[in-house]
C-alpha cells in the first residue's frame, strides 16, 4: 500500500543524511569543538529517552538526571572498585538503571501529570543525596577518579575523535531504536495513551504495562549516556546529577520539540552549543541565553523541529496559492 512505503522512506532519508553529516564532521572541526559535540551526543541520548517518555507517552519525569547518575556511577564503580572490564560496567549500567526505573515506575506511574512530575523530582533528589552520602561506594563529594576509558581488547578509545565516533555511533543506533519503537504497534499504543488513556484501554492497550516499559526504556537511555559520560571524562562526582540537569533535560526536549524524536537531537545541539557560543557576551551571556529560550517558546511553542516543519509547510502552501492564481491568468 502506498501509505506505508512513503512512511518508511520518510523515516530513513533524514536518518541517512544526519548520520553522514555526523561522520564527515570531525575532519572539519577543532579538538575542542569535537569534545563539545561528544557532550551533545551524550545529552542527545538522555534527551531522546526523555522524549519517548514525555512527547510520545505523555508522562513527565523531572528526575532523569538520577538515571544518568546511576549509569555513570555503576560504570565507574564496577570498573574502578571492582576492576572489571568497561563492557561489564556498560551492561551493568543498562541493567541497573532499567531495574531502578522498574521499581520506581510501578508505584509512581499510577500518578498522573503534576503528581508524576513531583514523584520523579523526589526520586531525583533522593538519588542525589545517595550519591553524596554513600561515601564508601561513590566517594561522596570527592567522587570517583581514574575511571578507565572505553576499550575493545587492547584498543583504547583515547583521543577525542575516537570517543566522538563511539558516542555518535551509540547515539545513532539509539535513534534508530527510538524511530523503530515510534513507528510500530508499540509506538502507536504509547501515543494512544498520550491522546486518551481510557480509549487506549478500550482498544486493548495495557496502559499500565506500556507506561512502565517506556519509563524503563527511557531510563536505560539515560543509563547508557551516564556510562559513556563516566568513561569519557574519567572522573565523576555528584555535581552533574542534580535537579538542575533534570530540568535542563526537560528544556532540551521542549525546546527541540516534544512531538518529534528529532526534536530531542536538535534540542541537545542547541542547548549544549548555545552556552559555548554565548561566551563572547561574557557577563550578559545568561540574559541572552534566557531571551533566546523565551523567543523559541513564544514563536515556536511546539519546539524547534515541529516549528520549522510548520514554517516549511506554510511556505509550500503559499507557493501553492501563487501557482493556483497564476494558472488562472
Amino acid at each position: 500500500m502506498q501509505v506505508k512505503e512513503n512512511g518508511i522512506l520518510k523515516k530513513y532519508i533524514p536518518l541517512a543524511v544526519f548520520a553522514l553529516a555526523i561522520f564527515l564532521l570531525p575532519s572539519h572541526i577543532s579538538n575542542y569543538e569535537m569534545k563539545t559535540l561528544i557532550f551533545v551526543g551524550i545529552n542527545a541520548i538522555v534527551a531522546m529517552g526523555l522524549c519517548l517518555l514525555m512527547g510520545y507517552a505523555g508522562q513527565i519525569s523531572i528526575g532523569h538526571a538520577a538515571f544518568y547518575g546511576i549509569g555513570a556511577y555503576t560504570s565507574a564503580i564496577i570498573t574502578t572498585t571492582y576492576g572489571l572490564s568497561v563492557w561489564i560496567g556498560f551492561l551493568a549500567a543498562i541493567l541497573l538503571s532499567g531495574l531502578v526505573a522498574l521499581l520506581i515506575g510501578i508505584p509512581s506511574l499510577r500518578l498522573k501529570g503534576h503528581y508524576l512530575a513531583m514523584a520523579t523530582l523526589g526520586f531525583g533528589e533522593i538519588m542525589f543525596v545517595l550519591f553524596v552520602e554513600m561515601e564508601q561506594l561513590t566517594g561522596g563529594t570527592e567522587g570517583i577518579l581514574s575511571i578507565p576509558p572505553l576499550s575493545i581488547g587492547k584498543f583504547i578509545f583515547a583521543t577525542s575523535q575516537q570517543i566522538y565516533y563511539v558516542v555518535w555511533i551509540v547515539t545513532i543506533l539509539l535513534l534508530v531504536v527510538a524511530l523503530n519503537v515510534i513507528h510500530s504497534r508499540v509506538g502507536r499504543a504509547l501515543r494512544a495513551v498520550h491522546g486518551s488513556e481510557i480509549a487506549a484501554q478500550a482498544m486493548g492497550v495495557n496502559t499500565a504495562k506500556y507506561k512502565i516499559q517506556i519509563f524503563v526504556l527511557s531510563a536505560v537511555y539515560a543509563g547508557i549516556a551516564g556510562s559513556l559520560y563516566a568513561h569519557f571524562v574519567n572522573f565523576i562526582n555528584p555535581t552533574p546529577f542534580t535537579l538542575n540537569f533534570s530540568i535542563i533535560l526537560v528544556i532540551i526536549v521542549v525546546v527541540g520539540g516534544m512531538s518529534s524524536i528529532w526534536g530531542a537531537l536538535a534540542g541537545a545541539f542547541v542547548m549544549t552549543l548555545l552556552p559555548e557560543y554565548l561566551r563572547v557576551f561574557q557577563e550578559y551571556n545568561l540574559i541572552i541565553y534566557a531571551l533566546i529560550l523565551m523567543s523559541v517558546m513564544i514563536f515556536m511553542p511546539s519546539g524547534l523541529v515541529p516549528g520549522f516543519l510548520n514554517l516549511i509547510n506554510q511556505f509550500k502552501q503559499r507557493e501553492g496559492i501563487w501557482r493556483f492564481l497564476e494558472s488562472k491568468n
Binding site: 501509505v3 510500530s184 504497534r185 491522546g195 484501554q201 482498544m203 486493548g204
Partner: protein
C-alpha cells in the same frame, strides 16, 4: 445462550444508586438499545461492562464467562469494544493511525521486537495498515486517512470511533450515543452503517437518545429510569408501555 448477560448489576456513588440491580441479556446478532432519561445510568452500565468502573454487586457474563473484575484491556481482548459519548479519539494521530491502534489486541509485536524491527514486525505492520485502511473504507472515511483526527468534522469523528472499535474484531460493539450531534442525513447513514455492522456478524448494543433511530433499527430495547430497568422488549411494545411514557413525559396530573 446469551452473548452478553447482565445480572443484578448495581453501582452506587455515595448515596445515589446509579444502577440498581439491572438484569438483561443480549443475543448474538441482535441490535439492542439502552434508553432512558438523562442520568438514568446508561453510560454507567457501559462503563461497568467494559471494566472502566467496578460494580458494587452483580456483574456481566460474556459467552457465559464472568468478565466482572477484568481490566478494560482484557475485556477488549475478549471481544467487547466500545465508543464514547464524549468522543475519545487520539487527536494528534492520523485517521489511519487511530484505526491502527484498534488492531492492537489482535497483533503481537512487543517492545523488543519493535525496537529491533525483527522480521515479523514489518509483515505485521503492513497487515495492520491494510486491515485498517479496509475498515476506513467500510466506514466511509478512507479519503481522510492521512488527516489528523483532531481536524475531522464532528460526524467524521463519530465514524472514526466506530472504525477504531471495529478494528479490534469485536463480537459485540457498544455504541454510546453514536447519533449525538449528527444531522438527519448523517443519522440515516449511521442507521445503515449499524445494519452493515450487524450483517458482518457483530452484535450491536447502543445507548441513544434519538428515538427515531432507536425504534427503527433495534430488535429490542431496554428502558432505564433512575438506575432501574422499567421495561424491555421490541420497539413497538416499548412505545406503548405506560411506565416508559411516564418516565419520559412525567405522570399525567389527574384532575378531580
Amino acid at each position: 445462550m446469551a452473548l452478553l448477560r447482565i445480572e443484578k448489576l448495581t453501582k452506587a456513588y455515595g448515596g445515589l444508586v446509579a444502577v440498581d440491580a439491572v438484569n438483561f441479556k443480549i443475543y448474538e446478532g441482535q441490535i439492542k438499545a439502552l434508553i432512558g432519561p438523562n442520568g438514568a445510568g446508561k453510560t454507567t452500565i457501559f462503563n461497568l461492562i467494559t471494566g472502566m468502573e467496578k460494580p458494587d454487586e452483580g456483574g456481566a457474563f460474556f459467552n457465559e464467562q464472568s468478565i466482572t473484575g477484568l481490566k478494560p484491556h482484557q475485556i477488549a481482548r475478549l471481544g467487547i469494544s466500545r465508543t464514547f459519548q464524549n468522543i475519545q479519539l487520539f487527536g494528534e494521530m492520523t485517521v489511519l493511525e487511530n484505526v491502527m491502534v484498534g488492531r492492537h489486541p489482535r497483533t503481537k509485536a512487543d517492545f523488543f521486537a519493535s525496537a529491533f524491527r525483527l522480521p515479523l514486525v514489518g509483515r505485521e505492520e503492513r497487515a495492520i495498515a491494510e486491515d485498517s485502511f479496509e475498515l476506513a473504507k467500510f466506514i466511509g472515511i478512507a479519503s481522510k486517512a492521512r488527516a489528523l483526527a483532531k481536524n475531522l468534522s464532528h460526524g467524521e469523528r463519530r465514524l472514526l470511533e466506530i472504525a477504531r472499535a471495529l478494528a479490534t474484531e469485536p463480537e459485540i460493539i457498544l455504541l454510546d450515543e453514536p447519533a449525538a450531534g449528527l444531522n438527519d442525513r448523517e443519522t440515516g447513514e449511521l442507521g445503515e452503517l449499524i445494519y452493515r455492522i450487524r450483517d458482518k456478524g457483530i452484535t450491536v448494543f447502543l445507548v441513544e437518545h434519538n428515538m427515531g433511530l432507536v425504534m427503527e433499527i433495534s430488535d429490542e430495547v431496554v428502558v432505564l429510569d433512575h438506575g432501574k430497568k422499567i421495561a424491555e422488549g421490541p420497539p413497538l411494545l416499548i412505545q406503548e408501555d405506560e411506565q416508559v411514557i411516564e418516565a419520559y413525559l412525567g405522570k399525567e396530573i389527574e384532575h378531580a
